[in-house]
């Protein structure tokens, strides 16, 4: 009883216990010396509570309070203080008679003790035998961030993040270790606090504590069919026991367009018509007599703001974190907005002498947004600059010229409103009936709702030109993912030599998606917008449609993993997953995904004892098999669908036609990956490096295989055929060249090189006579493909004609590949590749006293970009009164003539896309303690996407690098921005 009562005391009077040392010390002896001070973290400048402070050579000591402050009575003013804290380097400071000390603690690097999140658990960094990268919140990119993964940009070798769209509603594009698939998904699996398939959009980036990336197959194989594109494990901020904290983070961002496409001005037009302009001889242009800068007319200087408040509290046995965030983001175009409120509540409770843990989490985000119609941007680029926005009657000035519409009118006469919500509920019960054995059940449900409305008024060109008489649609969808994970884990030790961890589990997940869409047109009035669809006449006239759909799929898996450490030197990790999916064919419902990896901690060998400068050295190698799911349901079935109508007995009735060929052998894409790595830390961790070499071979590629009709029902079958190879090298270096209390410097450098090759697209069962296929689209009027995917070549090859010169009429002179005097599809060449093969990131972070400063640079090299804007617009042919880009004035090949040929897909418009960006600069100042209520306060300014060094002439060489048609810089792409942020962080 007494013991329990004491425990109760401890629990309820915890704050008292913490303050007790302070109360006990009272300055009653003149011989003693009172020292006051605060302890802060060298990297973040945040105060550190609970830091141990001891007068050297005595047992006199104390700990810092919640605000990182301490008061200590030292026996002598010449004593030294030993300051120590878990995760930080212990330091010794001479009091030197001072009464006030500012102690700055430097985080320990690569202690090996820190925990890394891996599949279904955590592991100590020193035990890791595969390729896993971890980024914690201190290292996240700050400033204008629209998506949690953007915070990792340039930070992780091999994880390439492209923010190619300036839209606040479009997420960044991620690729890990290359293009591994043709038709499968390329998205990495995101696991949020243990819930796989978690929705990235539902988490406020500020709520994230750390992100771990499982890069290689041996680490990701435990996630089976979804592991190929890597696994991103997100851990949200947890409460720290014994503290009540309130943190506020807020910032405001102003953005500008990264680069404007230069087009001719009204003045240029007039000088062309008056003669004397270089283009006067070949152009005469319609001059409407006005002057409008169309791009300025549809853009603005957007101001965005983000606020996040997090409160956490905890005792030894329970903790609560609650946070709320608001993001109001504006894009550079009017009508491109995002307003979002998100909230999170996390509650942890230990019961029964800490044998049972219960964790409950609820996360939600509610977003209202509107999509900008990028066709208006395209129109603004080519609209005649001598025209005006409004005509004399105050209507939008339209000209009835093909495919030319007033972009300002388009923007103002469209109403686009979308709302979406995410809600994640999860609960986890963990029991530890005996020491070392943990049994847990995690259940979660993630729901996403979406409803959108879109309308075009009667002043929109759809009515004023096309006579639609107002148009509107509504769309809604809901998806529910449910997940149940049951695991049993045992941590054991046999003697001093053997340490092991075994986990086994069951994972069930199902996905249900439902959607509905209805449109209508020919409305008696447009005042209701999309809110009263029923009053339009289009549906009953058969000119508008309704659609709805539903899909359901399931994944079920059993898995197990064993980690074994022998004498802290030899590490072995074996995992196995058996997983099945409804999407697989009848003959292959279940697959095995094994992995094995081993490590050798050389620095723990006796022969390394004398090698002092090496702090740690580990060799590791791993092999693992992961899968990629087909992206759609029902691909293995013979399905019939209702399709075209036919006239039978005077009535058009709907027919039933085949929708797919059966393929009972349909299965996952199988990626086999070998990864070899070295982790080394020298000079007590001041310099550390990780080097990884990988070779990943994806077999059984999902391919929409052309098959003969007949005998087949449908001209293509989704089959597993072919293979693709990706191999590369990744190097990551961390250095702490200066680590003093006043000056702290941290360098992170990472670089990765990648090689990709499509090895085959045929199997025994499915063969085509050709070893290539075409993909990508130039868009009208060019009407051609952009890429050829060919066996023996890397994915991403551009496939275009080559030109050698312009003739006197300004027509292209083509390279006649086969020399038959006919230029046709047989005369095309591989003229570049849209996938970069070298990525580098370089971050320098400094802190001097209360100032902090960091610069992140990012380089992407070895790829080409097809400049659609130039390809379509850089010619005088068939412009139909459209404006011209200034680049038309370039005379190709020094020919002395301007391009007057039809727009075509030629190598002339393919440019090198190599770039080096100064991606982020942040300058901050942390205020010294200025109030007993304020734990820390910091103000900072930062700039994103600031400077780009590139030879590329388009808006931004950072384009879409994913998929099968990478490097296409679409002419209507939402332009990227340069942004400036002012932020405040307060901790109470």
């Amino acid at each position: 009883m007494k013991v329990q009562a004491q425990k109760l005391m401890e629990m309820t009077q915890l704050p008292l216990v913490v303050f007790l040392p302070l109360l006990l010390w009272c300055p009653d002896s003149f011989a003693q010396h009172t020292v006051r001070g605060t302890v802060t973290d060298a990297t973040s400048n945040e105060t550190l509570p609970g830091v141990n402070i001891l007068v050297k050579g005595t047992d006199i000591g104390t700990a810092t309070d919640l605000r990182g402050s301490f008061v200590l009575e030292a026996p002598d003013p010449s004593d030294s203080l030993v300051v120590s804290y878990i995760g930080y380097q212990t330091i010794e400071i001479g009091i030197d008679g001072r009464e006030q000390l500012e102690v700055v603690m430097i985080p320990q690097v690569l202690t090996g003790e820190e925990l890394v999140v891996v599949g279904y658990g955590t592991q100590r960094r020193e035990d890791i035998t595969s390729s896993v990268s971890r980024v914690t919140s201190n290292d996240f990119k700050t400033g204008d961030v629209k998506d949690p993964l953007q915070m990792l940009q340039g930070k992780v070798a091999g994880l390439n993040i492209s923010n190619y769209s300036g839209s606040p509603n479009e997420n960044v594009q991620i690729s890990l270790r290359g293009q591994t698939t043709i038709n499968g998904s390329t998205d990495p699996l995101v696991v949020v606090d243990g819930v796989p398939g978690g929705n990235l959009n539902s988490i406020a980036p500020e709520d994230i504590e750390s992100i771990d990336i499982l890069k290689d197959g041996s680490a990701a194989a435990i996630y089976g069919t979804r592991g190929t594109n890597g696994v991103i494990l997100i851990t949200t901020k947890q409460a720290e026991p014994g503290q009540v904290q309130l943190n506020y983070k807020g910032y405001s961002t102003v953005s500008t367009i990264k680069k404007k496409i230069e087009v001719l001005s009204a003045g240029d037009f007039r000088s062309i018509n008056e003669g004397g302009h270089p283009l006067s001889d070949i152009l005469s242009i319609q001059d409407y007599g006005y002057e409008t800068n169309w791009l300025d007319a549809i853009t603005r200087t957007p101001v965005s703001q983000v606020h996040n408040v997090t409160v956490s509290t905890g005792t030894q046995h329970s903790s609560v974190v609650a946070s709320g965030a608001y993001r109001g983001l504006e894009g550079i175009f009017a009508n491109s907005d995002r307003q979002e409120i998100s909230g999170r509540l996390q509650y942890n409770q230990s019961l029964i002498e800490d044998r049972v843990d219960f964790a409950f989490n609820i996360t939600t985000s509610q977003r209202d947004w509107s999509e900008f119609n990028d066709y208006a941007y395209q129109q603004a680029i080519w609209r005649n600059p001598t025209d005006r926005i409004l005509d004399d009657d105050g209507n939008w000035q339209e000209r009835n010229i093909r495919e030319q519409f007033n972009p300002v009118g388009m923007m103002n006469e469209i109403n686009d409103q979308r709302k979406s919500g995410n809600l994640t509920l999860s609960g986890k019960l963990t029991a530890e009936p005996v020491n070392g054995l943990r049994f847990s059940v995690l259940a979660s449900r993630v729901t996403s709702d979406y409803i959108a409305g879109y309308s075009e008024s009667k002043q929109h060109y759809s009515t004023t030109i096309n006579g639609v008489n107002a148009y509107a649609w509504r769309e809604t969808s809901k998806s529910i993912d449910q997940n149940l994970v049951i695991t049993a884990e045992y941590n054991g030790q046999a003697g001093a030599d053997h340490r092991f961890n075994v986990i086994t589990g069951y994972d069930f997940q199902d996905f249900e998606d439902e959607d509905f869409f209805a449109e209508n047109l020919d409305f008696p009035t447009d005042v209701f917008g999309f809110n009263n669809l029923g009053i339009g006449n289009g549906l009953q006239d058969g000119r508008a449609g309704i659609s709805s759909g539903k899909s359901y799929s399931k994944l079920i898996a059993f898995f197990g993993r064993m980690n074994y450490s022998l004498r802290e030197k030899y590490l072995l990790n074996i995992s196995l997953r058996r997983e099945g999916s409804t999407r697989f064919g009848e003959n292959h419902k279940w697959g095995w995904f094994p992995a094995i990896s081993a490590g050798w901690r050389i620095s723990n060998e006796p022969f390394m004892r004398d090698v002092d400068f090496i702090t740690s050295l580990k060799l590791r190698a791993g092999y693992g098999v992961t899968g990629t799911l087909p992206t759609q349901n029902n691909l293995s079935q013979t399905l019939l669908e209702f399709s075209d109508r036919g006239l039978i007995n005077g009535e058009f009735i709907q027919g039933v036609v085949p929708a797919s060929n059966p393929n009972p052998d349909l299965r996952w894409e199988k990626k086999k990956e070998i990864n070899v790595g070295v982790d080394i830390a020298v000079l007590e961790g001041k310099l550390s490096a990780t080097l990884d070499l990988f070779r990943r071979n994806t077999e059984d590629l999902l391919f929409e295989f052309p098959v003969p009709v007949p005998p087949n029902l449908y001209p293509t079958t989704i089959a597993n055929t072919g293979s693709v190879l990706n191999e590369g090298i990744e190097l990551s270096i961390d250095a702490f060249p200066v680590q003093t209390t006043n000056f702290f410097w941290n360098i992170n450098f990472n670089i990765s090189h990648l090689r990709n090759e499509l090895q085959s697209i045929n199997t025994n069962q499915f063969t085509t006579g050709q070893d290539f296929f075409y993909t990508g689209d130039t868009q009208p009027p060019i009407q051609n493909v952009t890429h050829r995917v060919q066996v023996g070549e890397p994915i991403g090859n551009f496939w275009t004609w080559k030109v050698s010169d312009l003739d006197e009429q300004g027509n292209w002179m083509f390279v006649d590949k086969d020399g038959n005097d006919i230029i046709n599809e047989d005369d095309k060449f591989i003229t570049g590749n849209g996938i970069p093969n070298l990525f580098a990131g370089f971050t320098n972070a400094f802190r001097y006293k209360n100032f902090d400063f960091s610069v992140t640079m990012r380089g992407v090299f070895g790829h080409q970009v097809l400049n659609f804007t130039r390809m379509h617009n850089e010619t005088t042919a068939g412009r139909g009164g459209r404006n011209y880009p200034k680049s038309l004035l370039n005379q190709p090949f020094g020919s002395g003539t301007y391009i007057q040929d039809s727009p075509q897909i030629i190598d002339y418009f393919i440019e090198d896309g190599d770039f080096l960006k100064i991606d982020n600069i942040t300058f901050g100042y942390s205020f010294p303690a200025w109030s007993q209520y304020v734990r820390n306060s910091r103000i900072y300014v930062s700039g994103n996407n600031l400077f780009t060094f590139t030879g590329y002439s388009g808006v931004d060489p950072e384009v879409n690098f994913g998929g099968l048609a990478p490097g296409n810089d679409n002419r209507a792409k939402f332009p990227t921005t340069r942004s400036f942020t002012l932020g405040i962080e307060l901790g109470f």
């Binding site: 419902k589 029902n634 039978i648 027919g655 006579g769």
Partner: protein, 529 residues
């Protein structure tokens, strides 16, 4: 001892946990797939209500075959002396596809033959599948024999298109083929015999009505017209003329008395042409319901949107070659009924303006009978296709049914057969004049002598050349010119218009599409490609 007991204890706990995990797992391992928006194949064709739904694709596929984008219509007309789609400024280059058709430069990669191949075989597959389903149906099918006959004739119709365009194609007549089966090409003779016998043996089972119940479907008369086309081209297909059979079959249609020429040439091309007595077989189209007939969009200038109150801008592409316009007798009403020319007005009478060439912007749109070159010509060059009625508020597709066999065609086939078989030229002239009559006011007749005399056309002497011209004036832009040019020996020998010169006799038929060769290694390429 104590330690190891504890250890064993843990092991038991662990084993028990694993057991729970496995038990939990066993409770749900069902991976049956569900579809909510498509039919499982095994759940369809269970009742006679499903028969009509299954019959629809046999016919709806014809819309793709006749008029689908970059398909048969392009092949028959853009490779000929009548239609042309020149590049206009930057537009309609489209990777050079139309230029290659007109200049006979296509390869096995050309999209249009590939599309025709795929679309036709999809239709054949639809017929084979339906025949299989009917034969294996576990319920009573009303009028099963008639239905089977109709489907087999439809299949023969698809095969005649393949014979005409590719000559050497696989003949697949059953749905239930062994796994991995890859067909081989049949000879032209085998194909010819198959088509002939399929139609002949099923002819009498087909409905001989000509009314709403048979409209757009194969009744006896549509089957006979298909047979007549087969016989008419027998010499081209298998080197064996069959003029007598052409006369026999066309006579049967004429003698039925069910069909007649319309007094007005425009009626068979109106949006109500399903009511026309001249129509023997048509492919029904209806805006918003049964689409894909884009001929007005492909041909008209953007500004014509306001003439016809179209829902979107037309695309300003295809027109008629000036030399062909010049070949008409200026009194021939068909010149004006087939082509749009001159100043273009909006529905409200406004003059339409040009908008594409910078030097022409703002000037009135006037179609002129000129062509600079297929490689570049002005936005208002060429007369446009005005044959098919464009009902107000049409979408990108028309509500006009596409005429496959008109009664005029039957009369002209008979006339040609009489001429070629050495029959009475006067009888042939009567038939041709019967067709011409409505186009001239007053009547201007062709003489038997004009029909029998060889004339110089496109730089070469052409036997019965006047007959070829008559076919052109009557059937321009009806998706058949190539076949006529081949039969008159002009297709691969004549040089017409501004740019076209012959480019090899093998171009009478198209290359087997490379895509099809790749999918089926049993296929051999046509000679010359």
């Amino acid at each position: 001892m104590k330690y190891s007991e504890k250890f064993i204890h843990k092991i038991i706990w662990f084993a028990g946990s694993i057991l729970i995990v496995i038990l939990a797992g066993l409770s749900c391992t069902d991976l049956t797939e569900k579809s909510f928006t498509e039919l499982r194949a095994d759940g369809f064709f269970q009742t006679d209500e499903d028969i009509e739904k299954a019959l629809v694709p046999v016919y709806s596929q014809l819309r793709q075959v006749c008029c689908g984008w970059q398909g048969n219509f392009d092949l028959q007309e853009e490779t000929s002396d009548i239609l042309i789609t020149p590049t206009r400024g930057g537009s309609w280059f489209d990777g050079g596809t139309y230029i290659r058709l007109q200049l006979h430069n296509w390869s096995a990669n050309q999209s249009q033959p590939g599309n025709l191949w795929n679309r036709t075989y999809t239709g054949i597959n639809n017929t084979n599948r339906l025949l299989f389903q009917i034969e294996n149906a576990e319920f009573e099918i009303p009028n099963e024999e008639i239905l089977i006959a109709e489907i087999k004739v439809a299949r023969a119709f698809y095969y005649r298109l393949l014979l005409d365009n590719f000559r050497n194609v696989p003949l697949i007549t059953s749905f239930d083929v062994p796994e991995g089966f890859l067909p081989e090409q049949a000879s032209p003779g085998e194909l010819f015999d198959f088509i002939e016998s399929e139609i002949s043996t099923n002819l009498d089972l087909l409905s001989s009505n000509n009314d709403q119940s048979t409209y757009g479907r194969f009744n006896k008369w549509a089957a006979l017209a298909t047979l007549a086309k087969l016989y008419l081209n027998a010499e081209v297909y298998i080197g064996q003329p069959m003029w007598g059979k052409v006369i026999e079959v066309t006579d049967e249609i004429i003698d039925s008395g069910l069909f007649a020429l319309e007094a007005n040439y425009r009626v068979p091309f109106s949006s109500n042409n399903d009511q026309s007595n001249e129509m023997i077989f048509a492919i029904p189209f209806e805006v918003d319901v049964a689409e894909q007939f884009h001929i007005h969009m492909k041909s008209l200038h953007q500004a014509n949107q306001r003439t016809y109150q179209l829902r979107s801008n037309p695309w300003n592409g295809t027109g008629v070659q000036p030399h062909f316009v010049d070949s008409y007798d200026s009194d021939d009403q068909r010149l004006y009924d087939t082509w749009l020319s001159g100043i273009q007005l909006a529905a409200n009478g406004d003059t339409l303006m040009m908008s594409q060439n910078d030097s022409l912007i703002g000037k009135p749109l006037e179609y002129q009978n000129e062509l600079l070159s297929i490689h570049d010509t002005a936005e208002n060059d060429l007369f446009r296709i005005g044959k098919y009625e464009i009902a107000p508020n049409s979408s990108a597709s028309l509500s006009t049914d596409f005429p496959v066999y008109r009664y005029a065609d039957v009369l002209m086939m008979k006339a040609e057969a009489i001429l070629r078989s050495g029959g009475n030229p006067a009888e042939a002239a009567d038939l041709v004049n019967e067709v011409r009559a409505r186009a001239f006011e007053p009547d201007e007749q062709v003489t038997p002598g004009e029909l029998t005399t060889a004339i110089n056309l496109y730089g070469i002497p052409v036997e019965f050349g006047r007959m070829l011209q008559e076919l052109g004036w009557e059937f321009a832009a009806e998706g058949r010119r190539r076949s006529d040019l081949v039969r008159f020996g002009v297709y691969t020998t004549g040089s017409w218009g501004v740019d076209h010169i012959p480019n090899g006799d093998h171009r009478k038929i198209f290359a087997i599409p490379e895509d099809a060769l790749n999918r089926n290694p049993n296929l051999a390429q046509n000679p010359g490609y």
